[in-house]
Amino acid sequence: MASYERTFCLQVPSSTENLALIREFVSAIGEQAGFSETETVQLALAVDEACTNVIEHAYQNEASHEVTVRVTVDENEITFEVIDRGRGFDPTAEPVLPVEELIRQRRSGGLGLRLIRTIMDDVQYRIVPGQMNELRMVKKRHTGGGVSPAPGAPR
């Protein structure tokens, strides 16, 4: 009642055509929560990457499933929970290769988790067997964590 905490939830079919809607959802909340445009773009990007992974890997591009994004805003931070009921995975087993190495191997994958970890202040993944998989990402307000604002112009 006196608490500042607010919760939002979006559930959409597991198809990449809904990524734009997911980004609009995150952007609207990020803006409403007082994050800058730069920060809001980054939050939308991180959630896009998490949902893309669910659609492509957890559900292997079958559009008949659902992706859920829960967002909690309080005075200190914004928390995103991306939930699926598909194939879980072990994120600690995924190699974090330098981009040069990815290019050398002609691998276009491997960027998503890196972007998520760079943008967010805390990232946790848990599997509740037979129930759901949940990627939990936290971004603090106004901290040194995450990515600094972009330069005004490239080069």
């Binding site: 990524l19 980004r23 893309t52 691998r107 276009s108 998503g112 972007l115 760079t118 112009a153």
Partner: protein, 137 residues
């Protein structure tokens, strides 16, 4: 039941989504400029991938991605640049990036793209760099 209506519905869906990203191709001398417009994510990246692949298969490896109207890029779009950059360079060309908006540039920046790709403030500058390279080589 009603497979006709269903197909029409799907087509309408596809049309709406297609609007969110488009590519226009122009020639600047012997350099191909791909103007990327809108949102490049996992849904729209396959179209960008097909466009780049078509250029390389047709023996046109001198490419500039005009990003002046690109509003967003996720790893799926970044991955297209990574997949083809070596092939373009091996064929004597390059994939240069030009006129990236600051809010999109920050995404390239996070991943260290500026050290690996040739990123120029203007399309003209990017095209000119190919010509300079020609003159030298």
């Amino acid at each position: 039941m009603a497979p006709q209506a269903r197909r029409t519905g799907r087509e309408r869906f596809e049309e709406a989504v297609t609007r969110s990203f488009s590519i226009e191709t122009k020639d600047h001398g012997n350099v191909r400029v791909l103007e990327l417009r809108g949102y490049l994510d996992a849904h729209t990246a396959p179209r960008f991938e097909a466009a780049v692949e078509e250029e390389l298969r047709a023996g046109r490896p001198r490419l500039v991605a005009d990003c002046s109207t690109l509003d967003y890029i996720s790893s799926a779009g970044l991955g297209v640049f990574m997949t083809f950059i070596d092939e373009a360079r091996a064929a004597g060309g390059d994939i240069k990036l030009a006129a990236i908006q600051p809010k999109v540039y920050q995404i390239f920046d996070v991943l260290g793209f500026p050290a690996l790709f040739d990123i120029l403030p203007t399309v003209e500058g990017a095209v000119a760099r190919f010509d300079a390279g020609d003159g030298e080589g």
